[in-house]
Symmetry: C2
Subunit: 230 residues, 2 copies
Amino acid sequence: MARLPEYLRALHNLAESGHETVSSEGLSAAAGVNSAKLRKDLSHLGSYGTRGVGYDVALLIEQIEFVLGLTQRRAVALVGVGNLGHALAGYDGFASRGFRIAALLDADPSRVGEEINGLVVRHVDDLPTVAAEESLAIGVIATPAAAAQQVADQLVAVGVTSILNFAPCVLSVPEGVDVRKVDLAIELQILSFHEHRKASLTALPATGGSALTALPGGFATTDTQEAIGT
Amino acid sequence: MARLPEYLRALHNLAESGHETVSSEGLSAAAGVNSAKLRKDLSHLGSYGTRGVGYDVALLIEQIEFVLGLTQRRAVALVGVGNLGHALAGYDGFASRGFRIAALLDADPSRVGEEINGLVVRHVDDLPTVAAEESLAIGVIATPAAAAQQVADQLVAVGVTSILNFAPCVLSVPEGVDVRKVDLAIELQILSFHEHRKASLTALPATGGSALTALPGGFATTDTQEAIGT
DNA sequence: AGGCGCTTGTGAAGACGTGCACAAATCGCG
DNA sequence: CGCGATTTGTGCACGTCTTCACAAGCGCCT
Ligand SMILES: NC(=O)c1ccc[n+]([C@@H]2O[C@H](COP(=O)([O-])OP(=O)(O)OC[C@H]3O[C@@H](n4cnc5c(N)ncnc54)[C@H](O)[C@@H]3O)[C@@H](O)[C@H]2O)c1
Ligand SMILES: NC(=O)c1ccc[n+]([C@@H]2O[C@H](COP(=O)([O-])OP(=O)(O)OC[C@H]3O[C@@H](n4cnc5c(N)ncnc54)[C@H](O)[C@@H]3O)[C@@H](O)[C@H]2O)c1
């Protein structure tokens, strides 16, 4: 499930604050999900809690990390060291969550040789050499959309089977290669949609509402996080 | 639906390349989804295509932009001008997709006053003043996780009802406020999970496989993009 | 004008995810 | 040792999303 990483983060927080066991209720609150859902997820992965007590935090962390394949630290290749690439290269949140940036690559000759966070930017054509040095598990694409497909092909060619794509475009890859996309503009547009919906709901009941303004309204967006708290 | 922005991007690409009409088949390929799903989505929003021909690209763009509430350019406040915040502030992809970064805010006095992309960084405590100057629609949080909740509260206090959160933590907000989260580490962990699954699938059939290695495998991750093309 | 090919819109079936509610299990305490 | 409090694991029902398949509609060509 896609919620496992969320649980993992919550568990790490709990472990740091000294908890040894957690109830499904407590953990679900920390992760922002329904407690029944969490129990089903956890049971689904075969993990055992003890009834009347809860889950052993350390054991559960170990279990989830195993299922996520985080027992080995995976090597990440970052292609496109521009605006966004710089921020990613300097981010310490990857190292602390089981990943290691193994290489920075760019096509711009003026960027090659630059050192960021102790890593030297290499030319993207050196990718085969880099891949030979160590086994790359994941490729991150932070190039303009126009170059993304070509970079993806290069990554696949050297044996990368998982790609995280920041460029706003659809990549076509052979079967067996997984692609996940992060598009900030899409996130903003979804929020914009909610704004628009909220505005219509408060405005319409007063006015009659034109035919055009009468949008269905009953739309479902894959909610990342719904309203919680008071 | 959360797919509308994806359609919109594909439509803009098609419009630039001179197409006047698109079939559901063509558009679905460009957006990377099933054609039946696309037709249902489009019909769901009341938009009319003409049978035997397809959809009018310009009209459809207009329709979707209306539903998403992009007819008005929305003002975005970016809080936390650090590593990631810099990249976001310098990104031109927001402006071209209907958004306008209206303010850059940070708590660090040494950052206040800095100019990025023609915008001056202001102190986060000036938020009420900024909100008074122009109506903020969306707040983006790019601060460390420890500060995120406090910033969210400040944003809500000045009337922001949509928040995009980059900090790896769960925000608690009053009802009526929408929160979307982007967590890169989670994306990487999901890819890691797929790597692990793929590795198990190719290794297991040969060896007997220990009890621990026998993970269910039939997991479902909310697929951003599945394998397409040959 | 009529037929033919193409494309949309949608009904229905199936898969899937979600949440309730409760039985089974475990611990602590008298 | 037994009982109650507590918490897990799960059967079940419900709503949603997905996909197939096909009828209805439109334009074009003859
Ligand atoms: N900056 C942001 O905040 C932001 C936000 C969302 C999405 N994005 C997307 O991320 C991508 C990168 O954005 P950016 O702002 O960093 O752009 P950028 O122009 O600053 O950086 C792009 C980098 O990619 C390199 N590059 C170009 N072609 C290449 C190739 N074939 N192989 C290797 N490297 C190549 C360039 O030399 C450059 O260094 C874009 O697709 C953008 O739409 C950026
Ligand atoms: N850099 C990345 O690539 C990246 C990737 C994924 C997630 N993130 C997350 O994004 C967030 C920011 O990352 P970063 O690398 O830019 O960190 P950073 O430390 O470089 O920047 C954080 C900024 O927030 C400011 N800040 C701190 N407290 C504040 C407050 N109360 N109000 C306003 N501003 C405040 C700081 O002054 C600083 O400028 C973090 O939560 C991080 O986990 C970053």
